[in-house]
C-alpha cells in the first residue's frame, strides 16, 4: 500500500512524508504536522480544524483497526498543489474485508468505538477514497481545497 504517490504530477508544490510506529501517541503528532503543512494554502481556521480531525480519524483507524495490538508502521504523505491539499494515510495491517460496509456510519468492529471515523472524513474533506486488500493493508486518500480564495479573503 506504500509508494502510491506515483500518480501525482509535477503540479505538486510541496510534500511531507511521515512514517511512525503504530502507537496512539503518534496520532496527535501526525494531525498537528499535517495541519501546519496545510496552512501553506489559504485554509480558514475552521478548515484547518476539519483537516486535523480527518487526519486523526484516518491515522486512528490505521492504529486501532489496521494493526490492532501488533507493531507496524503508519505512513502519512501530504501533498500541496497550488490550490489543493492531498493526504494519504497507509498501513500494512490486516486490511478491510468489506470496504463499502466500512464506510457505513456506525459500522465498527469494536464495541468501544463509534464507527464514525470514515463518515467524519467524508463530511469534513472534499473527497475521500478508500482502498484495501485483506492481509495487505489499507490506504485512505483524501483531499480538500480552501473554500475562500486568496483574493476573496482580501489578501494580495
Amino acid at each position: 500500500m506504500f509508494g502510491e504517490e506515483n500518480h501525482l504530477t509535477s503540479a505538486i508544490k510541496n510534500q511531507l512524508v511521515l512514517e511512525f510506529p503504530s502507537m496512539a501517541e503518534n496520532v496527535g503528532v501526525a494531525r498537528v504536522a499535517v495541519a501546519a503543512f496545510a496552512a501553506q494554502l489559504d485554509f480558514s481556521l475552521d478548515e484547518i480544524e476539519d483537516i486535523k480531525i480527518a487526519v486523526s480519524e484516518a491515522v486512528t483507524n490505521a492504529v486501532v483497526h489496521g494493526y490492532r495490538d501488533r507493531p507496524g508502521l503508519v505512513r502519512v504523505a501530504a501533498m500541496l498543489t497550488s490550490d489543493e491539499l492531498v493526504v494519504e494515510v497507509a498501513d500494512r495491517g490486516k486490511g478491510i474485508a468489506d470496504v463499502k460496509k466500512a464506510q457505513e456510519p456506525t459500522f465498527s468492529t469494536d464495541p468501544e468505538r463509534l464507527g464514525l471515523g470514515l463518515s467524519f472524513i467524508n463530511s469534513l474533506m472534499d473527497k475521500m477514497e478508500l482502498r484495501s486488500t485483506p492481509g495487505q493493508g489499507t490506504l485512505v486518500r483524501m483531499s480538500k481545497k480552501p473554500q475562500q480564495t486568496a483574493s476573496a479573503a482580501g489578501k494580495v
Binding site: E25, G28, T60, E112, L114, L116, S123
Partner: protein, 116 residues
C-alpha cells in the same frame, strides 16, 4: 489531556483540558468510571470541555460510553463549554440528542430535575 474530578454529593464534575483522542480516551474513561463505580449515588455527570483543544470520534466515543454508564443508573450527562468544532461533531454523531448541553458549569450543576 488533563482531567480534574470533583464529586459533590450526587454530582460528579469532570473538567477536561487538552486533546481528547485515541491516546487520551482510555485514561478519561478509566478515571471517570472508577469514581462512578466507587460512588453509586452519582446521578449527574457534568463534563466541562471548555479547555479541550481537540476532539475526534475517539473522544466522542468516550463521552458516549459515559452516557451509557449514566443511563444504566438512570442518571444524566451534561456537556459544558463545547467549542464550535466539538459541537458540530456532537451533532454529526447524534450525541447532542442524548446528552444535555449546558452553557455554563453553574447552570449544569444547578439544574434541578423533578423527583420521581
Amino acid at each position: 489531556m488533563r482531567l480534574e474530578l470533583r464529586r459533590q454529593g450526587t454530582i460528579l464534575l469532570a473538567r477536561c483540558a487538552g486533546d481528547l483522542d485515541v491516546a487520551s480516551a482510555p485514561a478519561f474513561r478509566e478515571r471517570i468510571d472508577r469514581q462512578l463505580h466507587r460512588y453509586p449515588q452519582i446521578i449527574r455527570l457534568v463534563i466541562n470541555l471548555e479547555k479541550v483543544d481537540f476532539i475526534d470520534s475517539s473522544g466522542l466515543a468516550s463521552l458516549l460510553g459515559r452516557y451509557k454508564e449514566m443511563q444504566r443508573r438512570r442518571g444524566q450527562v451534561f456537556l459544558v463549554g463545547l467549542r464550535p468544532q466539538a459541537y458540530r461533531l456532537c451533532q454529526l454523531s447524534g450525541l447532542c440528542k442524548l446528552v444535555h448541553v449546558a452553557d455554563s458549569e453553574s447552570s449544569a450543576l444547578a439544574r434541578v430535575e423533578p423527583r420521581p
